[in-house]
């Protein structure tokens, strides 16, 4: 099974560099070990035995922003936490992605008041929004797979433009 069968005795595969790079980025995406509120518990559940997110190359949660490429904002972001969140985002190396997990991180959710940012997209740019209060672990996994689709479509040209 696998690549050997397809290759036969040729030993050569031709593809584009973009494909290989994007494929490798999706299959070893390390999220940051960073939970804010209720959604963090569902994020833990997604990591744990029943849902097992490591099937998608995500078994390693890194506690340091320097070692991670995906920030899952799991929960409500308060006015006191916003600056800290931005600093963590700034400390992550490029390329980096953000998933806003849950209603609070996406749009403020039920908390429309003085203390909460109405969506984490006021603080950091967001790639994928996952709805739910809190989203089920399946929903989070779906959000991650949606992000993979997005990453697979990325072009070097656009990235070069972005980091100029």
């Amino acid at each position: 099974m696998g690549v050997e069968q397809k290759l036969g005795d040729m030993g050569v595969v031709t593809t584009t560099l973009e494909n290989v790079v994007n494929w490798s980025r999706t299959n070893a995406m390390w999220p940051m070990l960073f939970g804010l509120a209720c959604c963090a518990i569902e994020m833990m559940a997604a990591q744990a035995s029943n849902y097992d997110m490591s099937r998608f190359g995500m078994e390693l949660m890194r506690a340091s922003p320097r070692q991670s490429d995906l920030m899952i904002v799991a929960g409500r972001v308060s006015k006191k936490m916003g600056p800290v969140l931005r600093r963590l985002y700034d400390q992550m190396p490029e390329p980096k992605w953000v998933i806003a997990m849950g209603d609070c991180a996406s749009c403020g959710g039920v908390f429309n008041n003085y203390a909460i940012f109405q969506g984490v997209d006021e603080v950091v740019p967001v790639d994928v929004y996952v709805a739910g209060c809190p989203p089920r672990p399946e929903a989070l996994i779906h959000g991650v797979l949606t992000l993979y689709e997005k990453v697979n479509k990325e072009k070097f040209k656009d990235l070069a433009e972005k980091y100029k």
């Binding site: 006191k80 403020g108 429309n112 203390a115 997209d121 006021e122 740019p125």
Partner: protein, 170 residues
């Protein structure tokens, strides 16, 4: 009223000439700010109210006198009793003596009241904000502080609200 609680309420009432209210078997004793430390000492040492369950405040804005009630919810584990003490205070920047010397928990709870209601506790060892970031203006749980409601973004007003929202740089 509980038969065990009745003599205690009577003692406090006579000593501090306090009034009390009863609602659904809960007793609320009303004291003046300058009496509170003495009353808490008496209750803790003589009547075994060793747990200060809650320490909070209620804002009666626009009423000015009294504007706030500072609420001390006491629990006695040994006798299985509860007693609530209320301290009505006037004006927008009231002062109440601190209870940190009696109950350790008063330290954080009083900081919370300073933060949320702007009630100052005289003699507090660490008067800083506790929940809101330093440099916040106003006290959120006061009734004259706005809730901070923002119009939610729907399809029909998406662009209109999007213009007002901050958009972070990459």
């Amino acid at each position: 009223m509980d038969t065990k609680l009745e003599p205690i309420v009577k003692i406090i009432q006579e000593k501090f000439s306090a009034t009390f209210e009863e609602f659904r078997d809960e007793v609320h004793l009303f004291l003046k700010p300058e009496q509170i430390v003495e009353a808490l000492t008496l209750l803790r040492d003589e009547h075994k109210f060793e747990l200060l369950s809650a320490l909070t405040a209620v804002d009666y804005y626009p009423q000015v006198s009294p504007r706030f009630h500072v609420v001390y919810q006491l629990t006695s584990l040994a006798q299985n009793l509860s007693l609530q003490i209320r301290v009505p205070v006037n004006g927008t920047s009231p002062k109440v003596p601190t209870a940190t010397g009696l109950y350790g928990v008063a330290n954080w709870r009083e900081r919370e009241l300073l933060d949320m209601f702007g009630i100052e506790f005289e003699g507090h060892p660490d008067p800083r904000r506790i929940l809101m970031p330093e440099g916040t203006e106003g006290h959120p749980l006061r009734k004259d502080f706005p809730l901070g409601y923002e119009e939610p973004q729907f399809t029909f007003n998406f662009d209109e609200i999007g213009l007002q929202k901050p958009h972070p740089k990459e």
